[in-house]
């Protein structure tokens, strides 16, 4: 892991590259809501340049810190950047620095304490990780089962929030239906650390990464699957860097794994007569490059009339729930989500799917708030429903 000095040097170098062209501006969901130049990615970089390259420390004000934390880490600015800057990485480094300066948002400090205490982002003890299993009648979920081929890393949101339990229930039901020899970690599953990374707290993630990797290694599984896009990104992109070593097992997102099962006919999709669209989660799509498998699953279901939203794949808009934005500014996060569900409704879809527990939760709340005729589901939930119906 880099020292804070190394990170600061990297920030300085990166900020020097930015040509202030503003290509990143109109794609940024946060700028599109706030509207003032100060919220545009290029302005945040310009301030970073003042602070880190030109050593004008006075520019690191409270307003600067607020703007840096008003970001969903969606990575759309990196996708379009005319100078090829890896802006998402830059935002994370800047948050590390904010934290080192003691300028982190208080809600994020609180959240870090929470994870330290319970090893998850909720206020529930980690022993409650499998409460969602209680509602499953026909499927038995075994914890740390020896000889399993696959481990399912559930993620905090669908472990603890009843609103999202349908995702974990669908995933285990599908694995069960396909006769996959799988297991879960139960209370030995700790938060993957993504919310901490997003608040510039990579130090604390080290402990979580070590624990989680050790527990999965001990199971001797070939494959780890996650239902959450951010968990997936953390396992595949962050853990190997943080730990400085290969994990020793394959990590797949649930949609990738299930698409494989469908391809080999180990699992067959059912029938759903609905018009369905798909929201690419930033951490699965743009930030991890997985676009096709969730779509493959949707198209495998008979009767599904699949329609795309104008902003999709690399240029998909964010749901508003990433980067801890809701903890920093809930209204801003909701405003972004509302735009996205409206875009979904405009396609004529009655069901909006995604492949991330956080996206589904955020979009569900927005659809309800706006009273839109739109059901929001995880792709895996819809797939399971197609088999149940």
């Amino acid at each position: 892991m880099k020292t804070i000095e190394e990170l600061r040097e990297q920030i300085a170098k990166t900020s020097y590259i930015c040509g202030s062209c503003g290509s990143c501006r109109s794609v940024c969901p946060v700028y599109r809501e706030i509207g003032w130049e100060s919220s545009a990615p290029r302005r945040k970089i310009a301030l970073a340049k003042e602070v880190f390259l030109k050593k004008k420390e006075k520019q690191a004000t409270g307003q600067y810190a607020q703007r840096l934390q008003e970001c969903t880490l969606c990575g759309k600015c990196a996708e379009i950047c005319a100078a090829g800057i890896k802006t998402r990485e830059l935002w994370l480094n800047l948050r590390e620095d904010l934290r080192a300066r003691g300028m982190e948002h208080q809600n994020l400090t609180q959240m870090a304490l929470q994870v330290k205490t319970t090893h998850n982002i909720s206020t529930f003890p980690n022993e409650n990780r499998l409460d969602w299993v209680d509602d499953l009648d026909e499927v038995e979920v075994e914890v740390s089962k020896a000889g399993s081929e696959v481990a399912y890393f559930v993620g905090c949101v669908s472990s603890f929030y009843p609103m999202s339990a349908g995702i974990s229930q669908s995933i285990v039901s599908l694995l069960d239906r396909a006769n996959v020899n799988y297991t879960v970690l139960g209370s030995e599953e700790w938060c993957c650390g993504f919310p901490l990374l997003a608040s510039g707290n990579s130090q604390q993630v080290l402990e979580l990464a070590k624990h989680n990797v050790e527990k999965v290694r001990a199971l001797g599984v070939k494959t780890l699957i996650t239902g959450c896009a951010s968990c997936y990104h953390t396992w595949t992109h962050e853990y190997p860097t943080i730990l400085g070593e290969d994990l020793g097992f394959e990590v797949l997102h649930a949609t990738q794994y299930l698409a494989g099962l469908i391809r080999t006919k180990q699992l067959e999709a059912g029938n759903i007569d609905e018009t369905v669209t798909y929201h690419d989660p930033c951490d699965l799509g743009r930030n991890s490059g997985i676009y096709d498998e969730p779509r493959e699953l949707l198209q495998a279901m008979e009767g599904v009339n699949f329609v795309e939203m104008p902003h999709r794949r690399e240029m998909a808009d964010c749901c508003g729930g990433g980067g801890n934005l809701a903890a920093v500014d809930k209204e801003l996060s909701q405003a972004i989500a509302v735009k996205r569900v409206r875009e979904a409704v405009a396609t004529g879809a009655t069901i909006l799917t995604s492949a991330c527990q956080q996206c589904v939760q955020t979009l569900q709340m927005a659809a309800r708030q706006e009273k839109l005729p739109l059901e929001v589901l995880d792709v895996t939930e819809l797939l399971w429903r197609s088999l149940e119906e």
């Binding site: 503003g22 509207g35 005319a82 100078a83 090829g84």
Partner: protein, 502 residues
Amino acid sequence: MEQALREICGSRVTTDPFELAPYAKDVAYVPAILVHLLTNPLPKAVVQPISAEEISSLIKWAKQGKIPVTVRGGGSTAYFNCIPMKSGLVIDTNRLQGFSEIELDQGNQKKMVWVKAGMTWKDLDDGLRQQGCAVCSSPSSAPSATIGGWVSMGGLGIGSVPYGSVHDQIMAIRGVTATGEIVELSRPDKSPARNQGSEQSDLQFNDLMGTEGTRGIITEIKLLVRDVPEKEEHLLAIFNNATDTGVMMSWLGGEHFMSLYNVHFSSPEFMMSLQKAGYAHEIPPGKYSLEIDLEGKRDEVDQAVAHIRKQVKVLGGTLLPDGVGAEEWADRFKSLRLEQTLPSLLAAEMTLPVRNFAAFYERLSKLGQKTNTLCVTYAHLVSPDMALVMVLYPSDELNLIRYIVDLSFTSNLYKLGHRLGGKPYVIGFWNTPYLGKIYDKGERERRRQRKQAADPYAMLNPGKGYNPPNIILNSYVFGFAMIMIGLFRPMVLKILKGGKGQ
């Protein structure tokens, strides 16, 4: 002030210094010492109107208090075009978004849309493509440049070879005059009868074409659009020298292929810099590359490709495998990747007759060698016989003295271009000393008169586009200063050892 503005724009007003600061900056870095010597760029307030009515009220309010008004779109220009010279009010157009349904003109069968001034060219193109249409041309800053911004500038870019300047694609314009009237002006050569000209400020259609927000404020334009082409081909040809490349560019312009959409030149130095940053590896080092983009009917594209293949061969060039050109095209908005190897670039941009392109390039290379300056060049063909040429050279904004002496090199570049029929492309504030190189005396006088007629109280974007607003920017004084500073440049670069163009 804030109270009055709030009455017009509600919460879309700011006077917070933290919010105002970015509106005193554009794409280019200019040392604070120069900025503060010559300008007062920090606005007193920024507003984000959502309608022509709000803009009209803002202008009327500003007129009462004699407050200068500067309009800002994407802020993607580099010559202080959208930065206030005398503080005042900045109108940020970014909340003027959206476009109308596509209309078909029954007379000429052309398609057009009304589009609001604050939309970016890329957003408009993306939106149109969902309906089977596309913009005819766009700047290579399309993700950031707004409709109003590009119309207020030169309007040349990708797609200008077949469609001309964006000014030629506008059928009508809605805007607000310098006295606060809301007007709709039709293209004079189309239907003058529809014109509702401005009574108080005498604003005319052409007053809003390329005049940098100095005569009126554009709120909406009626723009010609095209059907999404049946076929696209993106070829990448490489040549061994500037002469053959120049001949190829002239040939492409002269052949008048129906499907020739865009031609983009990159110098070997440009490619080398990109390659150092990990891009463009398919292009062999030391070559002069031309990306040739064809769009149109299938058979027209196929025929043009066949002809181009032959001509590339005749000139000793090579066409790179399919896919290389397509990749270059996909990255057409990413020219700044160059900054990964060369941050802090300075630039001169000019229009140049294509026939003189090779001569320009050769003299530029000599100048670069003589002055120990790495010149990185790219260019677009913007009409059959004209190219828009960008020459970039590295400096270091962290070193004030070096940066200031380096600024003088721009003047050498314009001189070199001028000798070969070139003209600086943009005026803004910093290029006012070069006005004489852009317009002859008669044209300068005509422009001055139009400004006077359209903006009698000199409220709109003062200091831009016309005679230099400051004695230091007078062409003689400025020219002399540049020569003197230029004399010191070799010495400064030697001392700093930064001028090796590495």
